[in-house]
């Protein structure tokens, strides 16, 4: 299931921890979520998020350029993960897997 996660949410989640360049983002997502984002996919997402004002590019450090999540990006990520949590809780309840919380 992790492989079907929205790459944009994965990238925003990674950047929510702090500024990162491309390789650091892919390594973080691979280690934390088990999803390997290809370079083409990653830069497609970075360009789209930058277009939407959800992340911003920082000055390059050598050949690498770090990215930072913006305040708009943090709000968008918060909305997204809240919705994902509601879906997850609903699914767990209906499957009878929610433990004592249902």
């Amino acid at each position: 299931m992790a492989a079907e996660a929205d790459p944009a949410v994965l990238v925003l989640t990674s950047l929510a921890e702090g500024d990162k360049h491309g390789y650091a983002i892919t390594r973080d997502i691979a280690e934390q979520v088990g999803v390997q984002l290809g370079p083409g996919t990653l830069y497609g997402v970075l360009a789209r998020l930058e277009d939407d004002g959800l992340i911003e590019a920082l000055p390059a450090e050598g050949r690498r350029r770090p990215y930072r999540i913006t305040a708009t990006g943090q709000r968008a990520l918060a909305d997204q993960v809240q919705q994902m949590r509601r879906v997850a809780e609903l699914g767990l309840r209906r499957l009878g897997l929610a433990g004592g919380r249902a």
Binding site: G22, T26, G38, P39, R48, A60, R63
Partner: protein, 273 residues
């Protein structure tokens, strides 16, 4: 190598950091496939910030000219084969032929309206004018060369044909090949000038819009040509003609619409700015 798959505007912005990422991750088959698919997506839907509106318009003007050269060659061949190149026809289907003629000439005028102001703008902005003037003037030389070759061929071959009229099948085929080469040159040379001069501004916008008008006129001319052929119950070859014209029209129309979107987007950006 993989970075080269992306559009120039994308490379200008991301090439360094993307190359660094590829060096860090290493390149495997899965990486190559991922990058190829991503590059195709960027070509189809470039990031808004990186969209080179003037570049898109120049591409449209160049592509429209190339497609239009094929369309013009098609209409000339059609007129030659059906009425021996007459401007007006008589008898059955003459109304269709009138529409064909007016639409074809309208298309020529629209292309002139597209390219005359653009040519002036290109020459004006070019530092080395010969590099722009030469390819812009080449179509005139090519057309005159073609007409001279056609006249020479007619003079050489006509006495040797069975009826003493026309130039025979071999002569016609030779002329057709020369015509295709001329049409290709007439499209390629101004397109080369476009690449060298890289114009923008109102002349480029006019060229995009006038190119679309020229394409629309060619749509009407093609329909009228098919109508004329059907009215005279001569269907031989009309399907091939219609297919070739439809292919060139599709290329011109798709490129024209993308150019028009760039015109609109550039206008919105200017107003926003």
């Amino acid at each position: 190598m993989l970075v080269a798959l992306y559009p120039p505007a994308w490379r200008a912005r991301y090439a360094d950091e993307f190359s660094a990422l590829l060096a860090d991750t290493g390149v495997r088959l899965a990486t190559e496939l991922d990058v190829v698919a991503a590059a195709v997506r960027v070509w189809l839907h470039p990031p808004v910030r990186l969209h080179d509106h003037a570049g898109r318009m120049r591409t449209t003007v160049g592509v429209t000219l190339c497609a239009w050269a094929a369309l013009a060659a098609g209409t000339i061949v059609f007129a030659k084969l059906t009425t021996d190149g007459a401007v007006f026809a008589h008898g059955r289907g003459a109304d269709w032929y009138d529409v064909f003629t007016f639409a074809a000439f309208g298309s020529v005028l629209a292309m002139a309206a597209a390219w005359l102001p653009l040519s002036v703008a290109m020459v004006r902005r070019s530092r080395y004018r010969a590099r722009v003037v030469a390819p812009l003037g080449a179509p005139t030389v090519l057309v005159l060369g073609f007409l001279a070759a056609a006249a020479a061929l007619a003079g050489l071959l006509r006495p040797h044909t069975r009826t003493g009229a026309g130039i025979g099948m071999a002569g016609f085929l030779l002329l057709a090949v020369l015509g295709v080469v001329t049409a290709a040159g007439c499209a390629a040379c101004p397109a080369l000038a476009l690449m060298r001069s890289r114009p923008d501004g109102p002349a480029l916008t006019v060229a995009v819009v006038a190119g679309l008008v020229a394409t629309a006129a060619m749509v009407i001319a093609t329909i009228a040509a098919v109508g004329y052929t059907m009215a005279r119950a001569r269907s031989a070859g009309v399907a091939v003609f219609a297919l070739v014209m439809a292919a060139a029209l599709t290329v011109a129309a798709v490129s024209g619409v993308r150019g028009l979107r760039a015109v609109t987007a550039a206008g919105s950006n200017n107003h926003a700015g």
